[in-house]
Symmetry: C2
Subunit: 246 residues, 2 copies
């Protein structure tokens, strides 16, 4: 037996193959909430692919109200990682160790989100899992799905450091023009107004601009294929326009 051989084996790289892809309203990373569960109007669908896309694979899954989704931070994967990151919750100006955060820039780019299970749809050999409250960019690759097991996973007395409670939220008002534009899109996206309200409530602006007094600055984000433009005045979101098209 070679001394140290076990350790060498356990350090070997491991190749993962995505089992599916997530379709979500978040066309870009900018609008994605910082944790799952904060934006319930965000419906997402996991489409299983390849050998995982078998109806047997999800048998009994409907017994569970919540699921863990493990996925790939595919948009930031190529940028690598550093030992220290700046969490938005700390205003973006204080550094913490990467393992003390849920930053997307990690040694292995695996994300973990718990979501509510809405429906499982089986269409021939295709399997779709509809979930509520996801925090994924559209087209995120999925690595695994596990049931949420309350007695093991729900630790009510856990201490969460800088992230103990939900982030504060901002109220949103719509200009008459924006409200009318949303009405025109209602047949295609019935929950669009609620989705915009819930996404903007999380204040997706970069942390260093949260306290900015620059009230004239207009921000933009894309949900589905809809562009939303807004300003922040006195800690309130003012939606200016809601227009279709990339």
């Amino acid at each position: 037996m070679i001394i140290g051989s076990t350790q060498t084996t356990n350090q070997n790289p491991i190749t993962m193959h995505p089992i599916g892809i997530i379709r979500s309203p978040y066309a870009q990373k900018f609008a994605v909430p910082r944790q799952p569960g904060l934006v319930r109007a965000a419906r997402a669908t996991i489409e299983l692919h390849g050998t995982a896309a078998h109806p047997d694979s999800v048998r009994g899954l409907e017994q569970f109200s919540h699921l863990w989704i493990m996925f790939v931070f595919h948009q930031t994967q190529a940028q690598g990682w550093k030992p220290l990151v700046r969490p938005p919750r700390l205003g973006g100006n204080k550094k913490l160790g990467v393992f003390a955060t849920r930053s997307t820039f990690r040694p292995n780019p695996i994300g973990l989100s718990v979501v509510e299970l809405e429906a499982i749809r089986i269409d021939g050999e295709r399997v779709f899992i509809d979930v509520i409250g996801g925090d994924w960019v559209d087209k995120t690759p999925v690595l695994d799905i596990k049931p949420y097991i309350p007695y093991a996973d729900a630790i009510s007395n856990a201490q969460g450091g800088f992230a103990q409670t939900s982030p504060a939220t901002l109220p949103t008002v719509f200009s008459p023009e924006a409200a009318a534009q949303i009405e025109c899109l209602a047949s295609e996206y019935p929950q669009l107004r609620l989705l915009i309200e819930q996404v903007l409530a999380q204040d997706p602006r970069p942390a260093y601009q949260n306290n900015s007094q620059d009230v004239d600055k207009t921000y933009g984000m894309t949900l589905y294929d809809v562009n939303i433009r807004w300003q922040v005045v006195n800690q309130q979101n003012h939606v200016i326009s809601v227009v279709k098209g990339f």
Copy 2:
């Protein structure tokens, strides 16, 4: 733009590199509890390796009481997976979809466990994280460490199907010989008696033998480098011997 190119990209395999290794009392898969948190006497240590083993990587981690550990099911990885598995909680005779279970036989062999953080120890450039309640075989490779965030992760009203509550436990009695053997090992393993009690309380026997009337059958397991032999009589564990050596 090539139609379908995005989907092809998102199906690409991803190579993961372990960031460390877990040292735990469980020398073999047999004794490992079926979920984390069930055996608090099981102390484990995560040793970070390579570029992740930097003191900066864990800065601020001490603010959190609990951590998520993502790891590799390295002992079962080579055996592949099937869409249906037989969970021990259902007696081993009912099949469920792999994604409705925490089975180790998964398309991507990633495990997920929440544990209590006990201590972070930094020794020069080496980083050790001591945790309580792990459910890992010794030398398990680690892929990621994330803080447990109560407001996002602790879902008190979640429905857990067949795994809603903790498994029933079995009491344990020690023969005079076994008790004496434990005393002899106390200086090396002070918590050994408690660890054996807590591991056996989970009834690690294969599910199909749980209701066996074969009272003469002797079971064996290894914790650290100690062999434990026991029988199960009238839903009670009887420890026969506790002997050092593989």
